[in-house]
């Protein structure tokens, strides 16, 4: 097991005051909170931060943790001393730490004090709020889907980490592999509810599993609500004279009529070809004008001929020529 340097995680000195620790936590929490942050490893960093704060904000836990400081160095193998925890009383275990699963290191030190925690039960301990002990907890998870899943439906396999309490009362993360039928037309931010797939409570009813979905970026389409956007490059003459071109859509290739006099940014709407929600979204084809390179003499001559034939000042609105 790796020793964790909670002071380093929080970026504070070992003699930091409670106020400094609180300040450091708030600053870093705003930076790495998964709801706020766009940083890549926000979730992992935030978990580590929450764990460090959980220990350092409590004088008892911090004192216990500091006793280890003279022992193994960060990264070295660590075993809690046999008399670990004696003489310290850990009060209020779990306050303000709702949905974190803790590192093995943390659990070996403080794990025994934490019982009855389900998978992300929301705020505080399951015993708080109006949770009915006869009913299992609802579990919540978040997954990333490919756009095809909502366009075509079909099943996807997810691996969820579900904290469970082992025989010794320690919190362990167990992997649960779920194969889920994706409802066609589900939109980012929506939730799949799987009845009876949450936590169990002995003989009582099982809770539900709520899976919030979001989409991975797609190589061709961008989604905005139920509508999809496709950038379609066209040649200048196709835009100017009009043309019939092939365009990809989620339902397959279509022949698309480009109206004469189109310009960059012209949006063509293909009704009902977006995400098949109810009602279905539309597919917007956004035209891009791609310039052919003036690579050889023939192409250069053609550009010159166009320049001679067409009086055109693209900067007229800037008042310059």
């Amino acid at each position: 097991m790796e020793f964790k340097d909670y002071y380093k995680v929080m970026g504070v000195a070992r003699d930091a005051t409670e106020a400094q620790i609180k300040q450091a936590y708030r600053k870093l929490a705003r930076k790495y909170h998964p709801d706020v942050s766009k940083e890549k490893d926000a979730e992992a960093l935030f978990k580590e931060l929450g764990e460090a704060y959980e220990v350092l904000k409590s004088p008892e836990k911090r004192a216990a943790y500091d006793q280890l400081g003279r022992g193994p160095q960060p990264g070295e193998n660590f075993r809690p001393p046999p008399d670990w925890g004696s003489g310290f009383e850990f009060s209020g275990a779990g306050d303000g730490a709702g949905n974190r699963d803790y590192s093995e290191f943390f659990e070996s030190l403080f794990g025994g004090a934490r019982r009855g925690r389900g998978f992300d039960p929301g705020r505080g301990d399951p015993g708080r709020g109006d949770h009915d002990p006869a009913r299992g907890l609802d579990h919540h998870a978040k997954v990333m889907l490919d756009l095809e899943a909502t366009l075509q439906g079909g099943s996807r396999t997810f691996t969820l980490r579900v904290p469970e309490i082992d025989a010794e009362g320690h919190l362990i993360a167990k992997e649960r592999v779920l194969n889920v039928q994706i409802p066609k037309g589900i939109l980012p931010g929506q939730t799949i509810r799987l009845a009876g797939q949450g936590g169990s409570a002995g003989s009582g009813a099982t809770g539900d599993l709520f899976i919030e979905v979001d989409f991975q970026p797609h190589p061709l389409y961008r989604s905005d609500g139920r509508d999809l956007y496709l950038d379609l490059p066209v040649a200048p003459w196709e835009a100017a004279l009009g043309a019939s071109v092939k365009a990809p859509t989620p339902g397959g290739l279509v022949d698309l009529k480009i109206p004469a006099g189109s310009h960059a940014g012209t949006k063509l709407r293909l009704r009902g070809r977006g995400i098949p929600a109810t009602p279905p979204g539309d597919l917007y084809v956004v035209l891009q004008i791609a310039l052919p390179p003036a690579g050889d003499d023939k192409a250069k001559a053609a550009y010159r001929a166009l320049a001679d034939a067409v009086p055109f000042n693209p900067r007229a609105h800037l008042g310059v020529s």
């Binding site: 303000g96 705020r123 919540h140 592999v177 779920l178 889920v180 409802p183 891009q288």
Partner: protein, 111 residues
């Protein structure tokens, strides 16, 4: 330890759910009074009032849970949560617009 099951079928919660204060508080594992506070602070809005009872759309679940996490993890009060949520929504809209602009008219990399 892995357990693989046949494909589970669920519903899109937001499409059918109409929640009472009690249901929403149970789903968020908080006291009903907390849901009332979220409404008073403007974090959640009530869609209909049926027989003097509030009803929330399914989207309220995600919003309420998000508010809870922000309040708990960032140690901010509900007015702060309400402001943060509004700004985050505005930021999301701007990010979408920006990615559309980046992908669209300003892109000149195709040949």
């Amino acid at each position: 330890m892995r357990s693989v099951q046949d494909a589970l079928t669920g519903e899109i919660f937001e499409e059918y759910a109409v929640l009472s204060v009690e249901e929403l508080s149970r789903l968020c594992a908080v006291e009903p009074a907390y849901i009332v506070e979220l409404v008073e602070e403007g974090v959640l809005s009530v869609t209909v009032v049926e027989a003097e009872q509030w009803r929330f759309p399914g989207t309220a679940l995600r919003r309420a849970r998000r508010a809870l996490r922000l309040q708990r993890d960032l140690e901010i009060n509900l007015a702060g949560v309400a402001l943060a949520l509004e700004l985050m929504e505005e930021l999301d809209a701007l990010r979408r617009e920006l990615s559309a602009l980046k992908a669209g008219v300003f892109r000149e990399e195709f040949r």
